[in-house]
């Protein structure tokens, strides 16, 4: 057996010289060494495992009988990649290194030989109007089969698949060529009746071929769909990974750096938790243009500023107006007081009702008596009590057994009450 010239596959490291040839056939390429004209016969011989001389003889004979050999040679010369460079080896592999194609090429040659012999036996002179359709037929068949076989090849070799749209395009092109070839071959020099007969025969043949090819085409289509779905999943996964990287992983890194500062760690963890939550569940509250949204924003802001978690519950919602904004501002002050002077857990409950908005902020600290608060301390007196009064609401500070509770109430303007639902 003769030695293969290049047997490296793009996926395997080049083995040591002299190793027994792999069972896999070398890809079909135009040989750069040991060639006579363009290396077509030598390359084909390597690929098929035949002696190049036999192929050369066949080509010469075919050329002599009617020129077909020269056409085949020219076709192969134009389509088969020359044997040089890794990239070209890879391109050639994905296109040609396949037993199916091999069969087709062999079969095509056999058919050509047979047809040539047959026509010769009829005593006819082989002219271009016969050889050309035959060639077209062969080319079409090669295209069709090389593409129909693609899914199996991809699966066997586990390659990154070639472009399936392109494959379908080639399939159509190949079929068209094959039909054209068949019809041209059938009706040459014939009359109208022959044309009809041949046309019918071609259609019948095509129907048969379609039936045979249908499973392959279906699989091709399914593979295409699977690949698309896989790509969509992959994109989604990448989006999630990117988000987690930008948010959670960064925060975890920050937390590790600040491990000695529990307040900072708690604040970072809480902020990250909230961010992730709103990303996952799109949050229980609306945007900031509504009262509930503004309340949530204020709660988060105070949490971030002071690193104390606030259990915030909001029910109902309404558009944010100036009075509502005043309530939000007073609530913010109450929350700041609770996290600064009280003890956790800090709870806040805002109920947006039909006739009034009520807000409660409670902590579990030692508590204080509002009457004891010095007049110059603006916090409670001005920012909470005064503000609520100016907007027609009320504010109350209660001392509980454990902790303090600030309650705010703001009546909803009468003209809005009917519109609420």
């Amino acid at each position: 057996m003769r030695e293969y010239e290049v047997v490296t596959s793009p996926h395997a490291a080049p083995g040591p010289q002299g190793v027994a040839p792999r069972r896999e056939r070398p890809p079909l390429r135009r040989a750069s060494e040991g060639r006579v004209v363009a290396g077509v016969c030598r390359g084909l011989a390597d690929h098929l495992g035949l002696h190049p001389l036999a192929l050369r003889a066949a080509i010469v004979v075919l050329t002599l009988v009617g020129g077909t050999g020269a056409l085949i040679y020219a076709f192969l010369w134009a389509t088969v990649e020359p044997d040089e460079g890794e990239a070209q080896i890879r391109a050639a592999r994905t296109r040609w290194a396949d037993p199916g194609v091999l069969l087709v090429v062999g079969g095509g040659l056999a058919v050509l030989l047979g047809v040539a012999a047959l026509v010769q036996s009829w005593g006819l002179d082989l002219r271009l109007d016969i050889t050309l359709p035959v060639l077209l037929l062969t080319v079409g068949a090669v295209f069709v089969w090389s593409q129909l076989d693609a899914p199996r090849r991809d699966r066997l070799l586990a390659h990154q698949g070639i472009d399936r749209r392109q494959a379908l395009g080639r399939l159509v092109l190949g079929l068209g060529l094959a039909v054209a070839g068949l019809v041209a071959l059938g009706v040459q020099g014939g009359n109208l009746a022959q044309l009809r007969d041949v046309g019918g025969a071609v259609l019948l043949t095509l129907a048969g071929v379609s039936l045979l090819a249908a499973p392959y085409v279906a699989r091709l289509w399914r593979d295409l769909r699977e690949e698309q779905a896989g790509r969509i999943r992959e994109t989604e996964r990448a989006d999630i990974a990117a988000h987690l990287h930008d948010s959670v992983l960064q925060t975890l890194a920050l937390i590790q750096r600040r491990a000695d500062d529990p307040v900072q760690v708690a604040r970072l963890a809480r902020a990250q938790e909230r961010e992730l939550r709103s990303w996952l569940y799109t949050g229980p509250t609306g945007h900031a243009a509504t009262l509930a949204g503004a309340v949530a924003a204020v709660g988060h802001e105070v949490e971030d500023l002071h690193g104390v978690p606030i259990e915030l519950v909001v029910t109902g919602d309404r558009p944010l107006d100036a009075d509502g904004q005043a309530l939000v501002n007073a609530l913010r002050e109450a929350l700041v007081n609770a996290v600064r002077h009280g003890e956790p857990p800090v709870s806040a409950y805002v109920e947006v009702g039909r006739v009034s908005v009520e807000a409660f902020v409670r902590d579990h600290g030692a508590g204080f008596d509002p009457d004891d608060v010095p007049a110059d301390r603006l916090g409670v007196r001005e920012s909470i009590l005064g503000r609520m009064q100016r907007h027609g609401g009320t504010a109350r500070v209660r001392r509980l057994e454990s902790g303090t509770e600030v309650s705010l109430e703001l009546p909803v303007p009468v003209e809005h009450q009917g519109a609420e639902s």
Binding site: R277, L280, Y281, P309, V313, G316, E351, F360, R362, E420
Partner: protein
């Protein structure tokens, strides 16, 4: 923690798909409960949880809302799969939902499947211990957030009040008061003091709200429960 319900420790099963969270809860409960609680099993999937519950017949199951396996409905599947199992004392197995999820439909779904309460994972150890004891005694446990959901879902925040207490689609005014105080962060004890009623009465009201939550066909509730989002 409230008074012990007999001398036997409460037998507890932890169901959560995060092993780290389970060991954290276990450590915290060991620390605070002494010998009042006994963790008799752990599970990380729906199917394993049902297996463990059938085998151990615990008093209380601490149940994560999101779990792999089963029919894809997480904690609700565990409750459905454990139907008919009774505790060693012959009572019903109680479920306490424990979740990081803020999504109302998740919470409502697991409550409607039969859980006796819902608390968030940020709950402190002693509070969790108290909640477990309360659930073991057959009472309901509502976090402020769950109380908020209830007020919203029953339209109580908007002023809808039941004419008669038995009405399933609305809260009675007393139930509304209790829910509001829980939403404000009050403990049952503080709610009782505020409303001049006994803790037992508070528990009765909360249980009655839980029952309404489970049985009501109110549109918002069913919409929430059925439109449970899947991630």
């Amino acid at each position: 923690m409230t008074e012990p319900s007999g001398s036997m420790p409460i037998r507890l099963v932890l169901v959560d798909d995060h092993r780290m969270f389970r060991s954290g809860v276990r450590a915290e409960l060991d620390e605070i409960s002494g010998n009042r609680l006994e963790i008799v099993g752990e599970a990380g999937t729906v199917d394993r949880a049902v297996e463990v519950i059938r085998e151990q017949q615990p008093d209380v199951v601490l149940l994560d809302v999101h779990l792999p396996g089963g029919n894809g409905r997480g904690g609700s599947d565990v409750i459905a799969g454990s139907a008919g199992v009774s505790t060693r004392a012959g009572g019903p197995v109680r479920f306490l939902a424990l979740s990081v999820s803020d999504a109302a439909e998740d919470v409502i779904a697991v409550i409607r499947a039969g859980a006796r309460g819902y608390v968030t994972k940020t709950i402190s150890g002693p509070e969790l211990g108290g909640a477990i004891v309360r659930v073991a005694d057959g009472d309901a446990v509502f976090s402020p957030r769950l109380a908020g959901f209830v007020l919203d879902a029953f339209g109580a925040a908007a002023g809808e009040i039941a004419e008669v207490d038995e009405e399933l689609d609305r809260l009675s005014s007393r139930e509304r008061e209790v829910m509001r105080l829980i939403a404000r962060g009050y403990q049952y004890k503080e709610v009782a003091k505020e409303l001049f009623i006994s803790v037992k009465t508070v528990e009765t009201h909360v249980s009655s709200v839980l029952r309404k939550l489970q049985l009501s066909s109110r549109h918002e509730l069913t919409a929430w429960a059925s439109a449970r989002r899947l991630l």
